[in-house]
Symmetry: C2
Subunit: 324 residues, 2 copies
Amino acid sequence: MPITKTLFMEEFAAPRAGKKLNCSISRKGKIMDVHHLKIFVSVYKNKSFTRASEDMHISQPTISEHIKNLENSLDCRLFDRLGRSIMPTAEGDVLYPRALQLLDDLDTIQEEITDAGTGVKGRLIIGASTIPGTYILPRVAYSFKKQYPDVAFEILIEDSGKITSMILQHDLLCGIVGARMVSDKLDFEPLLEDELVLVASPKLLDKKTVSVENLKTIPFLQRETGSGTRQTFENYLEKVHFTPETLNIVASLGSTSAVKQAVKESLGASVISRIAVQEELDSGVLLEIPILNNKMKRQFYMVRQNKRTLPPQYRAFCNHLKIG
Amino acid sequence: MPITKTLFMEEFAAPRAGKKLNCSISRKGKIMDVHHLKIFVSVYKNKSFTRASEDMHISQPTISEHIKNLENSLDCRLFDRLGRSIMPTAEGDVLYPRALQLLDDLDTIQEEITDAGTGVKGRLIIGASTIPGTYILPRVAYSFKKQYPDVAFEILIEDSGKITSMILQHDLLCGIVGARMVSDKLDFEPLLEDELVLVASPKLLDKKTVSVENLKTIPFLQRETGSGTRQTFENYLEKVHFTPETLNIVASLGSTSAVKQAVKESLGASVISRIAVQEELDSGVLLEIPILNNKMKRQFYMVRQNKRTLPPQYRAFCNHLKIG
DNA sequence: TAAACAAATAGATAATGCCGATTACTAAAA
DNA sequence: TTTTAGTAATCGGCATTATCTATTTGTTTA
C-alpha cells in the first residue's frame, strides 16, 4: 500500500527535469573533481606547490599538473605565480572556502552512508497476518523497542497472501505469515509453531472429541481465501483425504476475531489458532474439541525477498526474533 | 595597512587544525569522486544501468564498473540487483539526495568562480598619494560608481613611497602615485601630467619671477622624504645643477595641505602641484612665481605588480581611467 | 523451452595520474 | 655583478584507470 511504497519510491521515481546536457562540451572535457579540490586546498593553505606536495605525499609536478587542470576546467587562474612565492587570485579566494565546505560535505555524506548501514534506527515496517500481528508481534515489538529505542516500529496487518505479494512487489521488506508461497524470489524462514484447534461454543457442541468424518455434520465458519489459517486447514483436510466441499459451511468471514465472535454466538464451529483462543478456552467461553488422532500443526514464517539487502534495523529485528 | 591586508590574507593565512590524514589508508584507495556521483544519480533516476549508460553516452559495463567502485569506496551496496530490475538500498536512498545537493553545489561554485572573474563588483581599493587621492580620484570614483554601482570604492591615501611599497608587499593591488620606483616587479603607466609651481603668500614675496639661483634666498617649506612632490622637485634641482642642501629650509611638513597652510601663513615658499593650489591662485590668496626658463613637470602613474592578476573591478577601473 | 532483456565479466586499448630528472625563473647571498 | 638556493614548469616514461566491444550469466516473458 502507498504507506510503505513511499519508503522506497519517493525520490526514486521522480524524473527531475532540467540540468540535461550540462556535462556535454566543456573546454577540455575535464570536470572539477574532488581530488583537484583537495590539492587546491592544500596549496592554498601551504601557500606553496612544493609544501603542498610534501603535505599530500605526492610529487610537486603532479601538484602543478592538477592545479593547471583545475584552472583549465574553471577557465581562470587560481594562483599568480610570482617566482619565489604564489598568491591566490580573486577566483582562488572565492574557491577556497567553497572547496573546504564541499570536502566537508563529502565527509559528512560518507558518515551518513556508514551510519545508514549500521545505525539501528528509522522506520521498521513489519507486515504480518492476523495471528502473529495481533498475538505475537506486539510483545516482540515492545522488547525490541526497549533495546533499540530509535526505531519506529510499525505493524501492517493483512492476510498472509496480501503480505506475501506486497513483499514480492517491494512494497514491504519483510513479514511474518502463516503460509508459504512457492516462489524462488522469497525466503521463508520458520519462526514458531502454532496449532489450529477446532472450537465451538459449549451451547453448540459438547462432545469430547470428533472424528474427521464427523466434521461434515457440524455447521462450519471459515476464513476468506488467502488466509493462512484457511490454507492450513485445507491442507490438513487434503492430507486426511477429506473433501473440503463437503463441509457444511455456514459463513466465510474476513478476520480471526470475526470468526471467533461468530463461534461465541454459536453460529457454528471453526478452526482457529490456539494462540488466538487461549483466553476463551481457559475461561470456558469456548470449547476445544480434539479431532481423533490428528493435530493441525502450522508454522509461522518470516518472509522476505532473498535478493534485497535489509537495512540494519530490519536485520536487528530478524536477529531479535530468532534469539529472544 | 591591515585594512587592505585582510582582503588577501584572511583565510589564506589560517592553517586550520584537524582533518589531517583522513585520505591515507582507505580500503581500496579509491575516493568517492564527482564522476561516480553523477553516474550514481543517473542510475538512480533511470532505475537502470543500461538506461543510465544511454543517458550519459557511455557503455553499460562502464556504469557497472563505476557503481562497483563507488560501492567499494563507501563499503556498502547501493543497489540490489534483482535480475531484470534494480532497487536502491537504504544507503542508496540516503546517498541520492546528498549527491544531488553536492552536484548542485559544484555547479554553484563554478558559477561563482566565473562570476568572480567577470563581475565588476566588490571592494575596489585604490592607493593614492595626496594629490591624486585628494584632487583627482574623488571625481573619478564618482563617475565610476555611476557606471558600476556594485563596486565599493575605497581610496587609501599615503605618500607615493608608502603606496608603492604596499603594492610590492601585496597589501594593495594598484595605486596612483607621483613618482616612479625602480623595480622590475612593478608596472608604472603614465596617467596624466601635472606641474609643480613655486607659490608664496603675496605678503612674503611679490616678485614676478625668480631665477633658479634666487631660490636659496627664499625661506622654504618642504614635504617629507617619500613624497612624490619632494622627489620631483629634487630631480628638478639636480637637473638644473642646484644643490638641494643649499636651500633655506625652514620646515619639513607631512602633507600637501600642511605645506599649503604654512605657505598661506607666510612661513615660507614651497613648490606644490598646480592642481592643489589652483583655487588659491585664482582667488589671489597665493601667488605663483614662475621660475625663469623652467617648468617643473611631473607625471602621475598607475602602478601595480606586473605578475598579479587583477580582479574584474580593478580591470574596469583601469580602463575607466584610461578612457574617461 | 526459447527469446528477450539486464547486469557482470573478460580482454584490449586509450587516457590519465604520477614520478624522477631536468629546466627556467626568481630572489637572495657572496 | 655572479653565484647560490628556492620554486614552479616541462619532459619522458611507467603504472593505473577509464572505457570500449564482445561475451557470459541470470531472469523474465512468450
